[in-house]
């Protein structure tokens, strides 16, 4: 593992020599004039107050080739207008606003405006089907939804009347269906200034959803204090400096796109590039080149797609503006790190975090030697360990041992709750540690290496998918008696979802039914979550207590040792 270390001799670190640690980072926050702390104020308003209102905050690249720039002052105005729209509609602090849209400028105005109004923001991925959307909005008790007309008609209209908490639906654009309000005219009519609500550091700000192995998705609660970590980790792990041109390819519908595609870059006063379109080889290289991107934060799946095209596709391009490349989502194999160096002239820096940590915890930073494949070392202020858990007893493991990755609680962006599920939240902590659910190993140089999940969650294109949610959707189909869902390795996505189903009497296994079931799952769940492959079985392996053994299915699928089968029911062996 050590033979391919990428050394950075002479690199003294690109970060300004600022004191590290959370206390120092907290002291760098502006705070609200009347006391309190608010993410939107740190992200936008403070820069305007400090005289940087003319600096470009956002360069938005539309699908059809449009290019629109927004200064920090523009964003502050749009956020104020949006906050005023919410107030005019009677939406108050603490209420929950959900976002369901592609990457359009209004998404940024809505996020910042809601935070400014003390309203909690919960982003949803626009490629989710109606069921994941509805489940998350129900758990989060949505008061407001900001979406597009197409999304509304496809995913919301049918069940809107069944969700009494949902008081307001704002439609991006100039027209809106019945019962909704068009955001364009509402924003245009709203006053351009708005006093930021005096949120306190421990007031809820963000609600991110993450999948569980069993049961419903979990609503991960983050507070305004999280901004301390958003700002600091962007500086430390992504090498963000004021004025940098920065492109985060993650969608704001996921936690990376919110923490590092909206909040952290704005707090660090960079110029963000946002592309509305999906991955496209030529388009991406053109954006890097033409926009003179300096810091690029992307994901292994995207890097592998660039690699598939070969280095030829990048020939003759000018990537000289690039200064720092980072990746998150799943371990970045050595080939990807080295490919970055060969084709883009810089290695990728992998880092690790999850919805619950709210921000980057472990990283290969600018001034560190990179060990390709390793997630890096804990950032200043982060104490990590590898532990073995036995009930409530947690034992730290030595270097080289595989165990669960654990963190000492107390960093500013640590989740404060799983919304409405205190027992589930409590189960994440033991022996003074937050237990991440990821298996990892620390080497003798202090680098951490991801090994796998400690549970049955599937990691596809960097996103966690809960098998239970997929199984539930499959079982809704009249043909399906039972379903088990696992992740199988995929060279591009890391893992893809595969389902095993048994059928009810009267249904015939075959290609036609396989397609019908995949179509059914895609309609309900969306393509990012639905299985890519479904196979039929006469029975599924279960424990004596009746629990389906996904792990055994996976072991069989991959030809791995099956482990202890003593608890398995006889007929399914």
């Amino acid at each position: 593992m050590t033979k391919s270390i990428i050394r950075k001799p002479g690199r003294t670190g690109g970060s300004p020599l600022l004191e590290t640690g959370w206390v120092a980072a907290r002291a760098r926050m502006a705070g609200l004039p009347g006391g309190g702390l608010n993410i939107a104020h740190e992200a936008v308003d403070r820069h305007v107050i400090e005289g940087h209102g003319d600096q470009t905050a956002l360069v938005w690249l539309g699908r059809e080739g449009q290019r629109q720039s927004f200064s920090y002052a523009d964003l502050a105005t749009d956020a104020a207008r949006f906050a005023n729209v919410l107030r005019a509609q009677g939406i108050g602090p603490g209420e929950r606003l959900f976002l369901l849209s592609g990457r359009v400028p209004q998404l940024f105005a809505a996020t910042l405006g809601a935070l400014k109004a003390g309203v909690v923001v919960s982003p949803l991925f626009a490629a989710f089907g109606p069921e994941p959307v509805r489940a998350r909005m129900e758990i989060g008790q949505a008061s407001v939804l900001v979406t597009t007309e197409v999304q509304y008609r496809r995913k919301i209209a049918e069940w809107r009347a069944d969700m009494p908490s949902l008081k307001l639906v704002l439609i991006i654009g100039d027209t809106a269906p019945d019962g909704c309000i068009a955001l364009g005219p509402a924003m245009a009519a709203a006053p351009t200034t708005s006093e930021t609500v005096g949120t306190m550091p421990e007031d809820m700000a963000l609600l991110h959803f993450t999948s569980g192995t069993t049961g419903l998705p979990k609503g991960v609660v983050h507070v305004h204090e999280a901004v301390v970590a958003h700002a600091e980790t962007g500086r430390l792990a992504l090498d963000l400096h004021p004025g940098d041109i920065y492109w985060c390819t993650a969608d704001p519908g996921w936690v990376t796109g919110m923490s590092y595609g909206v909040i952290s870059p704005l707090c660090n006063r960079v110029t963000m590039v946002v592309d509305e379109a999906e991955f496209d080889l030529d388009r991406w290289y053109t954006i890097l080149e033409r926009e003179r991107v300096q810091v690029w934060y992307t994901a292994p799946t995207a890097i592998r797609m660039l690699m598939r095209a070969g280095s030829e596709a990048a020939k003759g391009r000018d990537f000289s503006a690039l200064r720092f490349l980072a990746s998150v989502g799943e371990p970045l194999n050595a080939e990807c790190v080295i490919w970055g160096q060969q084709v883009l002239g810089l290695p990728f820096h992998d880092n690790w975090w999850q919805s619950e940590t709210g921000g980057i915890m472990i990283a290969n930073t600018a001034d560190m030697d990179i060990k390709p494949g390793a997630m890096g070392k804990p950032l200043p202020g982060v104490e990590a360990g590898i532990v073995a858990r036995d009930g409530d007893t947690v034992t730290e493991q030595p270097d080289g041992a595989i165990g669960e990755l654990a963190l000492r609680p107390g960093w500013p962006s640590m989740m404060r709750a799983y919304l409405g599920q205190p027992e589930r939240y409590a189960r994440c902590f033991a022996g003074g540690w937050y237990l991440t659910g990821d298996l990892a190993m620390r080497d003798s140089d202090g680098y951490y290496w991801f090994v796998g999940r400690a549970d049955d969650l599937i990691k596809s294109s960097g996103h966690l998918i809960g098998p239970f949610e997929v199984e539930s959707a499959l079982i809704e189909h009249p043909a399906v008696a039972e379903a088990a869902v696992i992740g199988i390795p995929d060279e591009t996505a890391g893992e893809v979802v595969k389902a095993f189903v048994t059928l009810n009497a009267g249904y015939e296994a075959g290609e036609a039914l396989e397609r019908e079931l995949r179509g059914h799952a895609r309609k309900r769940l969306g393509p990012a979550v639905a299985p890519r492959e479904i196979v039929f079985r006469d029975s599924l392996p279960r424990t004596r207590s009746g629990k389906i053994m996904r792990r055994l299915l996976r072991a069989r699928e991959l030809g791995l040792p099956e482990g202890d089968l003593s608890t398995l029911e006889g007929d399914a062996r």
């Binding site: 699908r63 999906e278 080889l281 095209a309 895609r522 393509p527």
Partner: protein, 82 residues
Amino acid sequence: MTRDEIRAAFIADLTAVAPDIAPESLRDNDHLQDDLGLDSMDFLNLVSALHNRFGLPIPEADYPRLATTALAVTYLDQALAG
């Protein structure tokens, strides 16, 4: 192969990858990702199916030429003729 045959084959591969799409509701100018909701993994799977069916290399740089059914049929027609 005629254009109609190519079109039928393309739609067969498309709806195999994304069986939530009803062939009869498909319009030739629907954008596969923006209008029909394919994600990038779906798109790669579609390219791979087309590659296997037609025996054609489909380089990444050509992917935008498969953005709609109409574009894809033209692209495949030209590639097969070439």
